[in-house]
Every structure is written in C-alpha cells, then in structure tokens.
C-alpha cells in the first residue's frame, strides 16, 4: 500500500476542494443529486421538521386547537414535572414495556430464528407459521387475545383449569395486564424474527469452519462468529423496538377497552383508558387524552417534546454502547 505523508494528503484534499468548488460539472452533479433527494427532503420538512418545530412552539402555549395559542412560558413543563397526577404512572408503564417487552421479543425472535435456521424438514412451513401472526392487524390481534384470555369464558383459563391451575385475571388484573400484552407481543414477533433468520442464514459458513479449526466450542462460535454478524440487525431491532415501545398505544388502548367490557364505536377511549387501574395507561395514550379529549394541545405538545427528547437520548446511548461492542465501530 502506498504511503502518503500528511502534507501531501492536505494538498490533495485542498486540490479536490478547489476542484469541487470551481467545476460547473460538479455543481450540476450536486443539483441533480439535490433534485433526486428533493421528494425525500420535502417529506422530511413537512412531516418531521415542521411538526417538530410546531410542537416545540405549542408546548409553550395554552392551546385548545380552535382558539389562538396563548404564550404561557414554561407552565406546561412545570405542570408536567410537578403536578400532573398520572404522568408518573404513564411514564412507568411505558418504560416497563421498553425494559421487558423489547428484550423479550428480541430474545424470542433470535431463539426462534436460530431453530428455524437449523430446520431441515418443512422449513418453509415453519417459517410461515411463525411469521403469520405478524400479519394480523394489531387491533384484531389484541381483541382476539383479550377474548382468549377472558378469565370467565376464555379458553386459556379453561385449559389451565383442566390441569388444576386457576388462571389469573390476565387483562383484568393490574398485576397481569402488562405481562399479558408481552405474551401478545411475543406472538407477533414474526416481523423481527424473519430479519434475524435472514441474518443468521447470511453468516458465512467459512467463519464457523475456521472457528472449528481453531478449536472453538459452540458457545465461543456464538460469541465470536454469530453475534458479531447479528450486531447490525440487533441494533436495528433494538432501536425500532425501543421507539415503538415508547410510542406504545394501540394494543394497550384496545386491550383496556375490550377488557373493561366497553368496546363500542365512536366514543373514544376516555372511559376505559388505562384499565385496569391505569396499569395499561401509556405515555402516548395520556398525550392523546390530554390533547384531544381534554382540549389541551399545548400541554400535549410539551408531552410530545419530552417524549422526543427521551427517544433521542435512548438512541444516542444505544448507538454509543453498540459501537463500544463492535471493535470496528469504536473510534
């Protein structure tokens, strides 16, 4: 490999920069690139930058969506951190899902993907079976689960009773409602399982052979061959999983509504929100309730800004930790 000295490299960079600035062809190329990126940049500006700036602005106002917003300084934030009676519960429930639902789903997906990668008989059939639940719409899946786990007439408790086990109240018990949703989350883990399966099948067999020749045992192969190859997918699953858990809404809302016996059309979620005993009240449900049912869009914007900051914090920490794990990524 040719060795370039520092002064030489600086001169090359300067020359390239001068060349880039001065050539019409480069300018044209930049314009073409920008033109191709324009739809994406426009979408980003309209659907991300504008709402973000709007949320930050409204978070300093009292705003009910209809009247002009009135600037109230930091009052929304002061209320959020010192007075809101349910923000602690909503934040705790949401973090609970981040801490338990995300890792359990990922570990199960890796486990199932590992088994499916080894399947030699009817592998296509089994892959379909494990992936299929991911295609069920979240509302339908949740409604079905609440009925399956109904303590009175649901088949799950009836089957448990046949073995002499008295099943819990599942979605109707504050202690069991969140774990019940984790079971649902595991059932629909096909979306990330299929990505892990692809990553596992993509690991070069030569690396396993080389490891075997070096005397590595199964655990060492997992640690030094499989895991490094899975890291990008794992990072993807963690980031998307954490963000999804921070925004967890549909399943918790539907479970509360159906389990409370108040499934109806057109009357919102206010009456059954968080049932039982606010154990399923998530941060985004609380944000929606305050914004659209209590007409406090200013306060809901403050909640949204805090959620954005928390999600960004998780993202930064995660990216740094994963880089530390990956020797090539550590700089």
């Amino acid at each position: 490999m040719a060795v370039t000295t520092a002064p030489e490299r600086a001169a090359q960079v300067a020359a390239r920069s001068a060349h880039r600035r001065s050539t019409p062809a480069t300018r044209r190329r930049t314009l073409v690139a920008l033109a191709f990126c324009a739809p994406m940049l426009l979408g980003l500006a309209i659907f991300f930058v504008y709402p973000l700036i709007a949320s930050v602005y409204y978070s300093f106002t009292s705003y009910n969506l209809v009247s002009p917003p009135v600037f109230i300084g930091l009052r929304n934030y002061i209320y959020l951190f010192t007075q809101d009676p349910l923000i602690g519960t909503a934040a705790f429930n949401t973090l609970w899902f981040v801490v338990f639902l995300v890792p359990i789903r990922i570990l199960t997906a890796i486990g199932v993907a590992g088994l499916l990668a080894r399947a030699r008989v009817a592998s296509g059939f089994w892959r379909t079976v494990f992936y299929l639940p991911a295609l069920v719409p979240p509302v339908a899946a949740t409604v079905a689960f609440v009925f399956l786990f109904n303590p009175g007439v649901g088949p799950v408790n009836q089957i448990l009773a046949m073995f002499g086990i008295q099943g819990p109240l599942w979605f109707n018990d504050p202690a069991w409602s969140k774990p019940s949703l984790v079971i649902l989350g595991v059932w629909v883990m096909g979306d990330i399982m299929i990505i892990f399966l692809a990553a596992l099948l993509d690991v070069p067999t030569e690396q396993y052979e080389a490891a075997s020749l070096d005397g590595a045992n199964g655990l060492q192969k997992l640690r030094y061959v499989t895991f490094p190859n899975l890291t990008p997918v794992l990072l993807f699953a963690l980031i998307t999983g954490i963000i999804a858990a921070l925004q967890y809404f549909t399943e918790a809302s539907v479970a509360s509504t159906v389990a409370s016996g108040k499934a109806s059309v057109g009357e919102g979620i206010g009456g059954s929100m968080g049932y039982p005993d606010n154990s399923l009240l998530t941060y985004t449900q609380w944000l929606y309730e305050r914004g659209f049912n209590n007409f406090q869009l200013g306060y809901a914007s403050a909640l949204a800004v805090v959620l954005f900051l928390v999600a960004s914090f998780f993202l930064v920490i995660l990216l740094r930790r994963v880089n530390a794990f990956n020797p090539e990524g550590a700089k």
Binding site: N172, G268, N294, F295, Q296
Partner: protein, 446 residues
C-alpha cells in the same frame, strides 16, 4: 460540532417558523352575526356533520329529507360518522362546518369558550326561541359561562333497570328506592357457585363497570362537581363522601377480588351478552338506550325501569337522575350562518322533527312539547326516562374547558378507593380537587 453561526441560523429559522405558526393559528374570522330579520325564503347549500352511522344515520337523513322538502331551495350536505375529534379538527382547520352534532356535552365548555361553535344568542333573540321549552338541566349543559353556543338534540337519561322475573323469584314486587334497599335486595338476590364464586349478582356495585361512573351516581346524593367559578368542590360536597362510603362498604361485603373476578367474565356492555340482558345481574344502572338494545337483542326479557335509588339521607331527590345528551351548534367557519341556523333550529325546536328523531334513535326528546307528544312511540319502560328528564332533581355534569378531564381524575381516585388503596378519603378528595384545579388552570392565559 455545530458552530455558533449554525446555531444562530437554526434559532432564526425556528423563530420564523414559530411566528408563522402563531400567525396561522391566530385567525378567528369576523362574525357578522344575523341579519335584521329571519329570511323568508331559504336557499343554498348547508353542511351537517354528525357522528351517527348505519341505521341511526338513516334516521337523521329522514329528518334532513323533511327539511329539504319544506325548503325546496336548500341542499343539505350530510357528513356522517364524524366523531368529536374529527369535528374539532375540521373546525380548527377552517373547514366550513355549518351545523355540527356531538354526542358529548363535555365539549361544550371548550367549544363555547374557544368560539369553535358560534354564539347563538343573537339568533335566538331575533327569532324569539323560547329556551324555557327545555328542562333547566338541559339548558345548563348546552351553554358555558353565559355563552350559548349549542342547543340540545335529544337527551340521555339514566335510571334503574330491574328483571321482574328475578325480583318476584325472591319475593319482591317493587324496585328499591334507596341505596340501602338496593343493597339489601341485591344481597338476597346474589347466588354463588359451589366453589364460593359468584354465579349471579343482585346488583354490581363495582365502579367502572358498565355505566357505573361517578357522574351517573352523583344525582342520587345531589353531589356537586364544580362551583360557579369553575373550581372543583368535590371534597366540599358531602354527597360524594356518602356515596363513596356506601359503595365501598357494599363492595367489601361481597369481596373486591371476588367481584372483580365475576365482572371480568361478563360480556361486553353493548353486545347481546350484556349481563342484565343475560340475567347475570338482576338490577342495573343504565341509560334509556338500553330499551332499544333489549327490544333488538332480548325482546322476551321481562323487565321494567324506575328512577335510580337515592342515598338514604336524600330521599327527597327520588325521581331524578343523571342527564346528558347530544348537542348541536354552528361551526365558526360556516359560510352561510343563516341557513345553518335554520337547520339547527329545525333539528332542535321543531316538535315533529324531535319526535321523529326520538322514535327513530330511541333517545329522550328535549322540548316540553315533544316530551308530551302523543306521537311518541316508545316502549312502556321508556316512561321512566321521560319522567327523569322532566324531574327537577335531575342533574348533569358541568361543562369545563378540559372536557371530561375532571371526571376522569375523580373516577381514577374512586377506583383506587374501592380497591383499598386510599386510607384517608377526605384528604384524597382534597387532592382530587387540587388536581382538577391545576389542570383547568393550564387552559388559562398568563
């Protein structure tokens, strides 16, 4: 690394965007108000936004057809299936909603104070609409702090449903009139399985189940929510304490866990598996709409209705109950307010239209003429709700700028109370008052 120059640029862009946003959302539009006299001939197109769907939407359409027939130059554009969130965002985004109908009186505070619905007073005065034709409670839930931005379009009234067969099986011929009587009868009518679990209940006192909500119990003890200034007075209203203590003692007598387990296995409230319709619960607090559900889903059920029992120290309140209802107003972006007012007036004051809607939707009519109309074709059990509607002791939940947020706060506390998580009821109620006041304070300017 972000340079200072870039930071300044970002701040400048953000400030510009914020100012633009302030400009965008600040426009309210001038309201010219009504013309000197009501127009003799109506012409043009008017939009009607409502939340009904399927069969109920057809009932609304039939009345709209009558309106169009009576006014040949008018075309009504009907937008069905529009719930409160859609209605709010449509008005906020400047869509020309001429007449909007909501199922919730909880939006009145916000819509009247924000101007989402136009003030109707000038039109009411000009056309001499007699507001006394509406019961006082109905008048109260359709205005906010002196601004009348809505008129009532049918109402909901609550009462006690009881299974006549089950009552007679246990030797009762009359429904209970006090909460103590209700509890005694319910206890006697409760049956257990061999393992000690509940088989059937006389009455389910678990708060949060079906229509068991603080708002619906309040009238039994004359319990108050907010004072004239809009401040929470729950801890100062002894009716709440009396109701909560009675309810918790009743729950404890049955056993919270046992009751919770039984309730968890009951069917959906708005399905044919409704526990009152299946006979799993003998007496139930419910709205007048249940008569239509029973007629449709369990026509052979031998039942009757009565006003909901009162607290023992408030027997004078017997006959009243909780009232709420649909409300209608003129959207702030309406391009033809005269036509919108004509349609709104027809839907909310015309006896023929109201009776037709009441018969079709199975709700309580709101004007005195419609309440006594011989054309009302409703089941015999409906009579209770017509009386509750006209009773002076009936109550509603007051409008507030946070919608039903204050009720939610109190219901949360009641849920904690019934499950034994509250040791000091009075201190807890004071905290609830403060939480409600804090939330309402956020809606006020600096």
């Amino acid at each position: 690394m972000i340079t200072t120059k870039r930071l300044v640029a970002i701040a400048a862009i953000a400030s510009a965007a914020a100012l633009t946003l302030a400009g965008c959302s600040g426009s309210t539009g001038a309201d010219s108000g009504p013309i000197g006299a009501a127009p003799t001939k109506l012409e043009g197109t008017v939009s009607l936004w409502h939340f009904f769907s399927d069969r109920e939407a057809a009932v609304i359409q039939s009345v709209v057809d009558d309106f169009e027939k009576a006014n040949p130059g008018v075309k009504v554009e009907v937008h069905s299936g529009q719930d409160d969130t859609k209605l709010t965002t449509a008005i906020a985004s400047g869509k020309p909603v001429d007449v909007g109908i909501s199922y919730s009186t909880d939006i009145v505070g916000s819509f009247c104070s924000s101007g989402a619905f136009a003030d109707l007073t000038p039109y009411i005065k000009r056309d001499g609409v007699d507001l006394a034709q509406y019961p006082q409670v109905v008048r109260s839930y359709t205005e906010y702090k002196g601004t009348r931005c809505t008129l009532p379009m049918l109402a909901d009234a609550y009462g006690l449903y009881y299974n006549k067969d089950l009552l007679s099986q246990f030797g009762y011929t009359e429904p209970p009139k006090t909460l103590s009587e209700l509890e005694t009868m319910a206890e006697k009518m409760t049956t257990l399985n061999a393992d000690g679990s509940i088989k059937t209940l006389g009455f389910n006192p678990l708060m949060g189940w079906a229509e068991n909500a603080a708002a619906h119990y309040g009238p039994s003890a004359g319990a108050e929510w907010l004072n004239a200034k809009g401040e929470a007075v729950i801890s100062q209203s002894p009716g709440w304490t009396e109701l909560m203590q009675w309810q918790k003692a009743f729950v404890d007598k049955i056993g919270y866990d046992k009751l919770n387990k039984f309730t968890s296995g009951l069917g959906q409230e708005f399905s044919a598996d409704n526990a009152f319709q299946t006979g799993q619960v003998a007496m139930n607090l419910d709205g007048e709409w249940r008569t239509a559900f029973i007629k449709d889903q369990k026509p052979d059920l031998n039942y009757d209705t009565a006003p909901f029992p009162t607290a023992d120290s408030h027997t004078d309140l017997y006959g009243g109950g909780y009232l709420t209802g649909n409300i209608a107003g003129i959207g702030k972006g309406s391009k033809n307010k005269e036509l919108a007012w004509a349609l709104l007036k027809y839907l909310t004051t015309d006896t023929h239209a109201i009776v037709k809607l009441a018969n079709g939707l199975g709700n309580v009519p709101t004007t005195k003429d419609a309440l006594s109309s011989p054309d009302l074709k409703l089941p015999a059990q409906f009579g209770t709700f017509l009386k509750v509607m006209a009773d002076d002791h009936s109550m509603t939940t007051p409008p507030s700028p946070v919608g039903a947020g204050y009720q939610q706060t109190f219901n949360d506390f009641w849920n904690k109370w019934q499950s034994g998580q509250v040791s000091n009821l009075q201190a807890g109620l004071k905290t609830v008052d403060k939480q409600i006041d804090d939330a309402i304070a956020l809606t006020k300017g600096p």
